[in-house]
Amino acid sequence: MSDLLPRRGRRAGVALAAVAAMALTLTACSADDGGDKKNAADSQITIFNGSTGTIVENWNPFSPTFLQPTNGLIYEPLYYYNFAAPAEPAPMLATAHSWSPDGKQLTITTREGVTWSDGTAFSAKDVAFTFDLIRKTPSINASGLKITSSEATDDKTAVITFPETSYANEAAIVANTPIIAEHIWGKVDDPAKTINQNPVGTGPYKLKTFSAQSYVMEKNASYWQPDKPQIQNVRYIALATADAASAALIAGQVDWMSAFLPGLEQLLAGQKNLTYVNTPALTTSIFTCANKDLGCSGPQTDVAVRQAIYHALNRDQLNKLAGGGFAGTASPTMLPPERDAKWIGDQANATIPGAADVAKANQLLDTAGWAKGADGIRAKGGERLSLTIQTVTGWSDYISLNDAMTQQLKEVGIELKPSQLSWNEWNNNQVQGKYQLSLDSIGLGASTNPYATYSLKYVTKATAKVGEAAGTSGNYSRYSNPVVDKAVEAAAGTNDEAAQKAQYTIIQQEIVRDLPYIPIYVNSMLTEFSTANATGWPTNENKYALPASWKQWDNGVILSNLTPAK
């Protein structure tokens, strides 16, 4: 018996040694693979833009699942809108535009000296073709543009006519429509279904290599902006989770990503190449199913309850407990106050105080007839002031928010019952109106004009009875107010900013009182960069673009501004 083991053991030993040796050699090769290549011709950065698992090739900007660099890196819009800071639209493929007095005709002057990445010259005909294709093909008309005709009157002028006054669609037209090449797309049979292999665009980058795990974009040498871009190659990779992403960032395998990383300051301390920028843009809010007439039920249909919640929240504490201290101050007008100060009519509504006003909240509830019961929770006519609030499993900052708010609202006699659902169910409840309170966020519409928010979230047109689907990212609160409806319509009929502001002021008065969405704070949007391979990233002082790595259009602007690290 005893002579067996040594023989077995020897064999196993040899096998183990072989495996170990293999692992070592492999480690050795990979160690020198990551060597430094810092001359400009070889400059490369790696971006994680949130794609997970297998990447499917799709460079069709009209497809809902196109790869994000399609818009911004390959294709460009007429104008670029910066959502991160107050800024005028930056001309890209257009140099000027003007509306006819009735708002039914838009004349666009296109940029000269631009070429497509295959060498063909770009002209106004491509612009006219793009909008004509959208007019002819409902399945690619994602903005629902109503277009009568789209023609090029000469090589640098395109004229688009609309059946109705279309000022309100300006952002969708000039900033959110990728301009495509007529000589390529004219031959495509079904523009909605093609995956557009070998895309030809005017943007700063073009496709170099593609695989299901990663793809590389390379510099477009004939880009129209002189001396841009300077980074030769841009690689996009897929990672499964935020944990994997933060590990890759620390290990220097990722140069640019956007994720809320708990303990960010600590994580980046001692990493001299890593930095971050915070661009709060979305207002985290309690969505309320506010309208009894459309079928909402529960105490939150009482406006006094909504106002009391608004005043009872201690937002400084919430920011500390749930927002990591990175959140910005919100405005009851639902506009990010720093960027949109010029659109806020009454400066008293510009920001919400950080501390709670418990006395005010109590007084509101007392006046409305909600009396404190034996258990400390108020009640009225046998109905306890108890509300359910839903959020998504795994959204840890929202879950912490709910826990903290439960404590804060208890002070004024409101009981909050948090629940966590799957994303699908949570979303479905909002769309159908089957909820009392729900945590979600508002912001980042088609443009920085408040119309983008007000025309979606507050008008009767964008809502439906409880049990029926409200419009996409529409009025989930079931709020319906004729004054608001009329003001939104009036704002759409003009492109005079002063006249628009007058209408928005009316809307703001109504919604600040009615609070169908109760603002909490402007949530942080954290983006992490590495300066090891490239510099020139947006900073807190210079937000020349929204730096989120998943944002279309802004990606191209940022990459054009980078320079290889010395």
Partner: protein, 329 residues
Amino acid sequence: MFLLRKAGFYLVALWAALTVNFFIPRLMPGDPVEIMISKLGQKGPVSPETRASIEALLGVGTSKSWWAQYTEYLSSLAHGDLGMSVTYFPASVSSIIGQTLPWTIGLIGLATIVSFLAGVGLGTLAGWKRGSWLDSLIPVTTMFQSVPYFWLALILLFLLGSVWPFFPLNGGYDVYNVTPGWNGPFLGSVLYYGTLPALTIILSSVGGWMLGMRNMMVSTLSEDYMVTAEAKGLRPGRIMRRYAARNAVLPSVSGFAISLGFVVAGSIVTEAVFSYPGIGSALLQAVGGADYALMQGIFLIITLSVLGANLLVDLLYGFIDPRIREEKA
């Protein structure tokens, strides 16, 4: 007759599995169009009219009855058409499965085989040499098995990926420096990237095989024919392998075949922890995106391979174990 009865049983099982496969995804809350719109919303603004354009694009209409959808599903399955994925639009389900399955089979399959061989080998020795140092491996390996897998995987990833960077942190191969294909650097990279995930799977499953094998060995060793074999003066190696191990391994073999069947189900956790591009992560995506077609496609592959593995065991068992063959005759 035996074969016919088996085949009939498997046909019924297959039909039941396919039907369940059809209904379960549809009982989940959520609407694929809505989910696609919200994903789109993360890249940029979407307008209310987007819904109409996406519905037009996907050809999604809720007008069809479940019965009509069901018959359509069965008939397209018969033609081998698995439909189009919504989350990976416009890729077809078959192409997604084709892309992800090799990774999973390679990683999980190899790891399962290595784990089985190592477990059975160690178990044989431990049973043969009861009381030796090998016995002390059993508590160690079963401890690894009882630690939650994701925890073990995360700890190993942290230690061997971050603290002492012996292994890469994520992915299926070195996307920075090698090109996929049948070339040396790529295959080497795949092996290197697969080592750590495989190691975690082996560590967490070898204990079960080892324990089972050792205990079977112990009970086999007390059989009369073992004494006979020893009395005949056979070499101990021959006794261990041909007499003891061969009999003791039978229960493990059937367990092994079943676990091979589950290999294609992948390991969602493994693939999530290591960002591995296998079928488990595709399934996770499909569930997140209410992608019925892709879920059905993946479930179908899983069902078929588990049923296939069972059938194989049923048929092969007789050949592995002559006693069963005798009884049937």
